[in-house]
Amino acid sequence: MTRNRWFISFFVLWNLVAPGHCVHAAVSQVLHLGNGTEPKDLDPQTVTGVPETKIIQSLFEGLVDKDPKSLEPRPGVAESWKVSKDGKVYTFKLRRNAKWSNGDPVTAADFIFSWKRLLDPKTASEYAYQGYYFRGGKNFNTGKTDGSQLGIKSTDPYTLEVTLENPTPYFLSLLYHHSLYPVHQQTVEKYQMRWTRPEHIVSNGAFLLKKWQMNKVIIVERNPTYWDAVNVKLDSVHFHAIEKAETEEKLFQVKKLHATATVPTEKIASWTQNASGVLKRHPYLGTYYYWINVNRPPLNKPQVRKALALAIDREKLVKFVVKGGQAPAESFTPPGTGGFQPQAKLPRDLSRLNEAQALLAQAGFPKGKGFPTIEILYNTSEGHKKIAEAIQQMWSEHLGVKASLYNQEWKVFLDTQHSKNYMISRAGWIADYNDPHTFLELLTTGNGNNHSSWSNLNYDGVLEQVQKEISSKKRLELFQKAEDILLEELPVIPLYIYTRLYLLSPQVQGWYDNVEDIHPLKWVWIQ
């Protein structure tokens, strides 16, 4: 700390004294972002969390990029593309000036390597299902065939032909997802687990990883080899790992952060009244829910799960605990995702409490008698804790069910979820693309992100049908069918639909509100 300060003051002095030292820009183009927590890793094919995604999107670039305003796909590494009439074959022309940060050209072979890596059972990627769209992807991932059967090929280094299993209307926007970003083969093979360290990493995005200080900050700097480097305005971006919303808020107030990851719930009201307009609030395609580990008795009984789901007063929860103007979740998919308006199946309030109590009695626990204490796991944060405490109280009051709470730090939390070593766990799912499928596919059997162990062949069947269906009206009907099964079985308890709330400095330009909360840093600058 002290040494740092010395260094800075020395630097300032040097700037004042050094003759002929020119001052570049009036405003320093260094963006400081609150990123919530320390990322688990920065490997595009293996990470699953939002904090990781935000950093990876600045380090790597996929075939397509997204328009910062409309989120329409626009050329990224691919300069143009053609789609066959049946919507199943995509031919991408890659730009010749796309380079890796070590100078190598980005070629079709890089994408083939990366996509095979995603699907390779040895990678054990939780997001492997993002590659199931490719013909033969699922078979390869489940070990039925080897990688040679995949519907991906290149006719020359700059042409990539992708054959899909089904015509997928949102395929292009899917390519913006980090799991389908290219990675540099030699680097990955040479350094294995350590390839994402700043000293090893080779990337192709608008920024380069310069420094990774555990639990503190990740610094990325403008990438001079990036094909569109002239349009990148920021010199560097600091992603600060700050778990406490209150700390973030204070740093924002003293102008050490340009944007926070979130806002402390108790402060939302006062920021709303704040006339400066720094509080950003917009709809966000995401659901806050609880995973239920259906292998753990008594949670293996659907009646118990339903009773728990019906005994939560969601309206009270969002109004008095979450407080950000979020909507109570009456379905798992947020209404409006890809034009889908799911029917409300869960009550907003306690109107079906009698049913819940009857169900619990049916399952053999009248008034909660004999019900073992269930554990609610959440990742360390005041906000999650408060929600868990409120739900703990509702269950105890309305059902006589006792719950205990415990929290874990983000990386440990993700591992616990993945190894299914919990009973009930806090979760939030944010759309990877604007289609209900991104939510509903989570619960299919064998999905790497399905942490509930729930498996329902009917449900799987409906989602498979969705994939083959072209008529958008029929697709929506099928989505509703899936929702119906899901909310009858409840391996998840949806709590509320996210509203994106954060503080953003008015100095930040080129940053637009959108439902997926994507802000490509390539287009951002500081005024």
Binding site: S270, F320, V321, E382, E389
Partner: protein, 293 residues
């Protein structure tokens, strides 16, 4: 040459404890502190009878309301009665603080006095063990214990106590080193008193002064460490609270609901002050050398 004491030693020896009690009674501040602590302990353990509300029942429509007739200390961010929470929190904090300090005192005093009394090679060996344990970061030790044995309230006492006894052992060892060549110990040795009785009857009572002072410093340290562990999710689990967690919650909203910080902090500081005054008084009272009158 020093002059002889003017007081004629009474032939009917006064025990160490009688003597201490007589001296403590004269120290008003210490007595006041002791009364306060006893009252506090009583109130906390009768909390279920005293508190008009439960510490866990939430009234989501009345979150963060100020002190009123209904809620004497106001309510917290989930509409729970702060008065009840402060009482129950005091229960947790004091229990953790006192029990963990006791663990540290018992282990530290015995270890330190044995080490100091034996001296020589044994002393060297035993103190190096303490050095090694010092080098272990406390938090790792606690986390390993917690992960290995599960989240358990009792374990918290042990874990916290186990990390606090090291300094205690050193203090006691230093005292014993300076005492063990004193005449009364030599006399005891000559009389053929067993070693363990020399340690327990003659050495330990003479080290009590510094031990008690250090104990009064350990209690607050443990209370604060407990708050830290609870933040990491290893300590007290919600909805139960300790003063540490209440203060932490209060700090987050101190500009909106200052009472959430004020009341737990008030109780914590009053308790720590009392402990210090009482510790001071006890040291004066128990120190056989410090007899001023």
């Amino acid at each position: 040459m020093s002059e002889l004491s003017t007081a004629v030693p009474s032939s009917q020896g006064v025990s160490l404890w009688d003597d201490a009690w007589a001296r403590l009674k004269k120290n008003r501040l210490a007595l006041l502190a002791a009364t306060f602590l006893i009252l506090e302990v009583l109130i906390f353990f009768l909390a279920p009878l005293i508190a008009p509300h439960s510490y866990e029942v939430q009234d989501l429509e009345r979150t963060m309301t100020g002190p009123s007739w209904r809620h004497w200390f106001g309510t917290d961010t989930l509409g729970r009665d702060l008065f009840a929470r402060v009482l129950y929190g005091g229960r947790v904090s004091l229990t953790v603080g006192i029990l963990a300090s006791m663990v540290s005192a018992i282990v530290g005093v015995i270890y330190g006095s044995i080490s100091g009394f034996l001296g020589g090679r044994w002393d060297n060996l035993m103190m190096r063990v303490v050095d090694v344990l010092y080098a272990l970061p406390f938090i790792f030790l606690v986390i390993i214990l917690m992960v290995y044995f599960g989240r358990n309230f009792m374990l918290l006492f042990v874990a916290l106590g186990l990390t606090q006894w090291l300094t205690m052992a050193r203090i006691v060892r230093g005292q014993v080193l300076s005492l063990r060549h004193k005449e009364f110990i030599e006399a005891a040795t000559v009389l053929g008193i067993q070693r363990k009785w020399i340690i327990f009857r003659h050495l330990i009572p003479n080290t009590l002064g510094p031990v008690i002072v250090y104990l009064t410093l350990t209690v607050p340290a443990v209370i604060l460490e407990e708050a830290f562990l609870s933040y990491l999710g290893l300590g007290i689990q919600a909805p139960l609270a300790s003063w540490g967690t209440l203060i932490k919650e209060g700090v987050d909203v101190m500009d909106l609901a200052p009472w959430m910080l004020f009341f737990p902090a008030l109780f914590l500081s009053a308790t720590l002050f009392s402990l210090n005054f009482l510790g001071d008084g006890l040291r004066d009272a128990l120190d056989p050398k410090g007899a001023k009158d």
